[in-house]
Amino acid sequence: MSTKNKSAFSNKKMVWRAIKDSFKKLNPKTQLQNPVMFLVYISALLTTALAVLAFFGIRDANTGFIIAVAVILWFTVLFANFAEAIAEGRGKAQADSLRAAKKDVQAHKIPSIDKKDMVTDISSANLVKGDLVIVHAGEQIPADGEVVDGAASVDESAITGESAPVIRESGGDRSAVTGGTTVISDWLIVQVTSEAGESFLDKMIAMVEGAARKKTPNEIALQILLVALSIIFLLVTVSLYAYSVFSANQAGIVNPTSVTALVALLVCLAPTTIGALLSAIGIAGMSRLNQANVLAMSGRAIEAAGDVDILMLDKTGTITLGNRQACDFIPVDGCNKEELADAAQLSSLADETPEGRSVVVLAKEQFGIRGRNMGEMQIEFVPFTAKTRMSGVNFQGNEIRKGAADAMKAYVEEGGGKYSDECDTVVKKIANLGGTPLVVAKNHKILGVIHLKDIIKQGVKEKFADLRKMGIKTIMITGDNPLTAAAIAAEAGVDDFLAEATPESKLQMIRSFQSQGHLVAMTGDGTNDAPALAQADVAVAMNTGTQAAKEAGNMVDLDSSPTKLIDIVRIGKQLLMTRGSLTTFSIANDIAKYFAIIPALFMGLYPGLAALNIMNLHSAESAILSAVIYNALIIVALIPLALKGVKYREVPASKLLSRNLLVYGLGGIIAPFIAVKVIDVVLVATGLVV
């Protein structure tokens, strides 16, 4: 995504667009979406009407004051619109670049795989599910689909922002292709899986643009609270008018409160700050997720990520580096260590796997055994197969094999050799240490064992400890046997592990956690992960994964990075925290506003109430104006926070709460006292009020 890491404000064009949109959003229909701001909107209309009436001499307050309040209220509405528009801006920019990728192309439709040459060219917009198309190098893939034949490198940068091409081939877990990406070399035959308008790219555009954004349940619940508070404040101000009439009658004076002043009070009290920023917070959260190159299928999924308390992490790539490394040669049955290393190196020369290479490296490090020319020595490489579960070389009548202990046992015993107890002890010892033993044999005689070690990624242990502090348990998922798994789990500091994991056992584990009331997040890519993904509360499918996996998940990770899950949880939590903190701030502000406005309104009626004017504001009008100006400006001031999110730390809930309460609760009480006073001083100093 091209707009990565760019602040929304740094882009002038985006700001302009947001300003324009702020005015467009004055449409009452748009305003009605946000009940709290709609109240401000109505108030602005009402005060404008009062200002017009004032020109004709019908007024209950100073004309200049009425106009000032009306103008400030309009600005309040515009600021709220701007907050939303600027949050949407980033998404819109992303959507624009995505749209550029999505254009109609000529698709080469073919009747079946065997008839590659019977091409009919049709527009990609007319493709339907099940159609077969052939895509050659240099052409754009016309629609989402499964590769049914061929293999090719594909440039997916239009979607992922990653310029390195990826391999897509038929069968297996790398068969999914996305419309809008480009084939760079070779050709593919793709079976279309989505029709125009429903493609991944379409969904993506809709998501980043916020068009498909629905209010999440939590947003709705918060809005209910805000609406309820607004209703109360509406009643407070209306009843205050009645009280004021009553009290003035009792005192035999003219009612001191004007409609304008009460409207100003209402707007100040209503939770406008959070009301104005609520949708911006939601959009910004989604946008942060997009920046992390994760595409959520719904806003609800992000919130669920905040709630997750079990992370099921794949061992490989997340906890350990992708590959194991040889760390020791252990000769058995009286064999020489160097002889073992030599055999191991020979057998690994042609082995291009990282494990194989690490054996060669270790042999060089320990014994200076250098690479040999395989052609000269007439070495024939025997690759690893799932059936034999061994690999090795045949050369000059010799057979060297290396493989898992049980496979090697079968191999040596078949050849009349002996699988000694000593070897068995070494194998078990390595397994207990969390390593993988690789037994090496020459001509059916065991030479020794290579100790392959999983390398735990740096910093993961601390990361998991932090997560634990927040109440999130990490579960390591691995295909290893329980012994190995336990050792790695202990070393990495995960809370639990699932060894010899199968899709069924994963699904089973998720279900049992959920039945205990946990929320589970997992990542997956293969088709066989689909059931578990569908069951998990937060399911992140790798973009490299199959179509089935992508459909089962509720997020897609475009980078296909296994550690992404932790970022997603952070973004989810941050979103909710921002929402809660700004709500607290908004409500806490009301205390100061009361102290600004109530004495101002009633000092004439009860002079003693001047004692409540603790900010010592200049006059009734300056007090009310200062409060409404503060109320408008605080929205703008908080836009960056709404977009960026409040600071997130991995600490227990009660610590997070006390910190946020201190900053946004106590801060929300104190800040407006200072700010309103400052505005009042400025208003008086500049002669705007007398």
């Binding site: 939590n218 109440g471 607290t584 205390i591 809930a653």
Partner: protein, 579 residues
């Protein structure tokens, strides 16, 4: 000084010490566990179910439960309304009192059915023994029991997982009355009769005064009419069930309703006993005593705060009472303080404690006249009602009101720890939120609309005893009392007019039944939910931080709703007195 403080402490200690075992007992009763009264009462209970064809195994969904609550209350309403209108033709009316006006009947009926017990009349001069005993006393029992029953529905909703049934209204009703209300009231009644409270059907007695009184115009009064009646049996549930409607007009300030310091202690403690006990019941029955204790501490803290302010304000009185030093209002060698409107037999400590207790619990009985309190002392009594009667509050309803506030607190706080909110393991979603705000905001809505409307009606000004800010306080107090389902009155406010009777009656019905049905709806939704597992990421709802937050939310909602109103009433009056 120390003496007085010890007195306050003693009252609070007695209250809590009695409440803890009672809470445990109520919890057992409502779970159907055996208690010491089971041997006698189980046969009675079963006999009642047989007689009424109640299937005690039936577990109702929330809608059916709510329908039963409304049906039962509605039936009680009609019956009581008719008693008022027709009492002239009904038995047990030795004074031959006629039926009341329709609006007074409506007001009083609403008042007693809603556990408010606001009284726009004086019992001894308006109601027959039949109306008092068969009407009001019965409602004293059942309206209290209804509140407790609804609380238990909510408790069950927290404990059950993915179910529908929330209990059986008729069984709850029977158990609460049979095992809790009746035994407690029996003990109190006997205590009161022992202390001299009347319990008879005699006609009023005319007695000769020991010391004749000469009025200012020279008239000499030698005789007095002493009212009689089945008072003790009504006063017991009036106190224990947070009802508060006095048998006699001046309530527990009347020497026959509250004759001695011991009767005063008995009545004062019993008025908060069940509401306090229910906090402990709550903790016990949701199987997490810490949660119940947290709610208790939050309420207790606010009660002590309120009591402290009232006590200090009343003790230090006002500059006007001191009359520039001409009157000694210090408390050295004498009672001192603001004794206006207080019984000399009770003094400041006991009057202040009662005032704090009765407005904290939505009881509303009084042993002193809140109208005569200092502006700030009187404001606190008003504020406690305006907070929605959640500082212990009415039996059952106070606690479920507080739990709704806990839901609000959890909602905001929960977000701040980065999770969607949950309370006691149940997720709080839009539906619960909608209902919780109805519970929490019904009181402000009722009070603001009612008092706002009344401020605009010219005739209301005639009902006031005072002008200016204090007059406004009287009006505000009346609607606050109705809006908190409290029922106490700022004496001096003549509430028996058509407008006031009808509007106050409507406010009482609104703030009783809207939160009640909303609470049942919350229960109906929560009971179907899964229980979320607890982890370090879960917001703890039993620690000091949460208790503080809960108190803050309650005070904030109250303060934001009523600051302007209070500024024009007691606060303005307070500053006027300083000048």
């Amino acid at each position: 000084m120390t003496n007085t403080i010890l007195q306050y402490v003693l009252y609070l200690v007695i209250l809590v010490v009695l409440a803890i075992p009672l809470g445990n007992y109520i919890g057992k009763v409502m779970n159907g566990e055996r208690v010491f009264l089971s041997r006698i009462l189980i046969p009675c209970e079963n006999a009642m179910y047989r007689l009424l064809h109640v299937d005690k195994e039936e577990s109702m969904g929330w809608k059916k439960y709510a329908a039963c609550v409304l049906l039962f209350s509605g039936f009680g309403f009609i019956l009581l309304f008719l008693f008022h209108l027709l009492q002239g033709a009904l038995p047990l009316n030795p004074e031959g009192l006629p039926g009341t006006s329709w609006h007074l009947a409506f007001n009083t009926t609403s008042s007693f059915v809603t556990n408010t017990n606001w009284q726009a009349y004086s019992g001894e001069s308006t109601l027959s023994y039949f109306t008092q005993m068969m009407g009001l006393t019965v409602q004293n029992f059942v309206s209290a029991a209804t509140g407790i029953a609804v609380l238990f529905v909510l408790i069950r909703a927290f404990t059950k997982v993915q179910e529908k049934g929330l209990g059986n209204f008729w069984v709850d009703m029977t158990r609460i009355n049979l095992y809790v209300m009746i035994p407690i009231c029996l003990v109190i009644t006997i205590g009161l009769v022992w202390q001299g409270v009347p319990q008879n059907f005699n006609a009023y007695e005319t007695v000769t005064l020991v010391e004749p009184i000469t009025l200012e115009d020279g008239t000499v009064i030698t005789e007095q009419i002493v009212p009689m009646g089945p008072a003790a049996s009504q006063i017991a549930p009036k106190q224990a069930g947070t009802n508060g409607g006095g048998f006699f007009g001046v309530n527990s300030a009347h020497p026959l309703e509250n004759p001695t310091p011991f009767s005063n202690l008995l009545e004062m403690i019993s008025l908060l006993l069940i509401p306090v006990a229910l906090c402990f019941t709550f903790g016990r029955n949701i199987k997490d005593k810490k949660q119940g204790r947290a709610i208790f501490i939050a309420m207790f803290f606010m009660l002590v705060l309120a009591l402290g302010i009232i006590a200090v304000c009343e003790q230090s009185a006002t500059p006007q009472l001191a009359q520039n030093g001409a009157v000694d209002i210090s408390m050295i060698d004498q009672a001192g303080g603001n004794m206006e409107g207080k019984e000399t037999r009770f003094g400041i400590a006991t009057s202040s404690t009662w005032a704090a207790f009765t407005t904290a619990a939505s009881n509303g009985s009084v042993n002193s006249m809140h109208d005569s309190y200092t502006p700030l002392g009187g404001m606190i009594t008003m504020l406690q009602m305006q907070l929605g009667e959640v500082i212990f509050g009415g039996v059952g309803c106070g606690l479920y009101g507080m739990l709704a506030f806990a839901i609000l607190a959890v909602f905001i706080a929960g977000l701040m720890v980065g999770r969607t909110p949950e309370y006691l393991g149940k997720k709080i979603e839009p539906y619960e939120m909608k209902m919780a705000v109805m519970v929490c905001l019904a009181t402000p809505v009722g009070i603001l609309i009612g008092s706002g409307l009344a401020s605009l009606v010219p005739e209301v000004a005639n009902s006031l005893n005072n002008a200016g800010a204090h007059g406004f306080s009287e009006l505000l107090y009346a609607y606050s009392s109705a809006g908190g389902n409290n029922g106490s009155a700022f004496a001096g406010f003549n509430a028996n007019t058509v407008f006031l009777n009808v509007t106050i009656g409507l406010v009482m019905l609104f703030v009783r039944f809207v939160p009640m049905i909303a609470t049942l709806a919350i229960a109906g939704s929560l009971v179907q939910k899964k229980k979320v597992a607890v982890s370090a990421g879960t917001l703890p709802t039993h620690n000091a931080l949460f208790i503080g937050l809960l108190i803050f939310v309650v005070l904030l909602v109250g303060a934001l709703s009523f600051f302007p109103a209070l500024a024009l009433g007691p606060i303005a009056e307070y500053f006027q007195m300083l000048i």
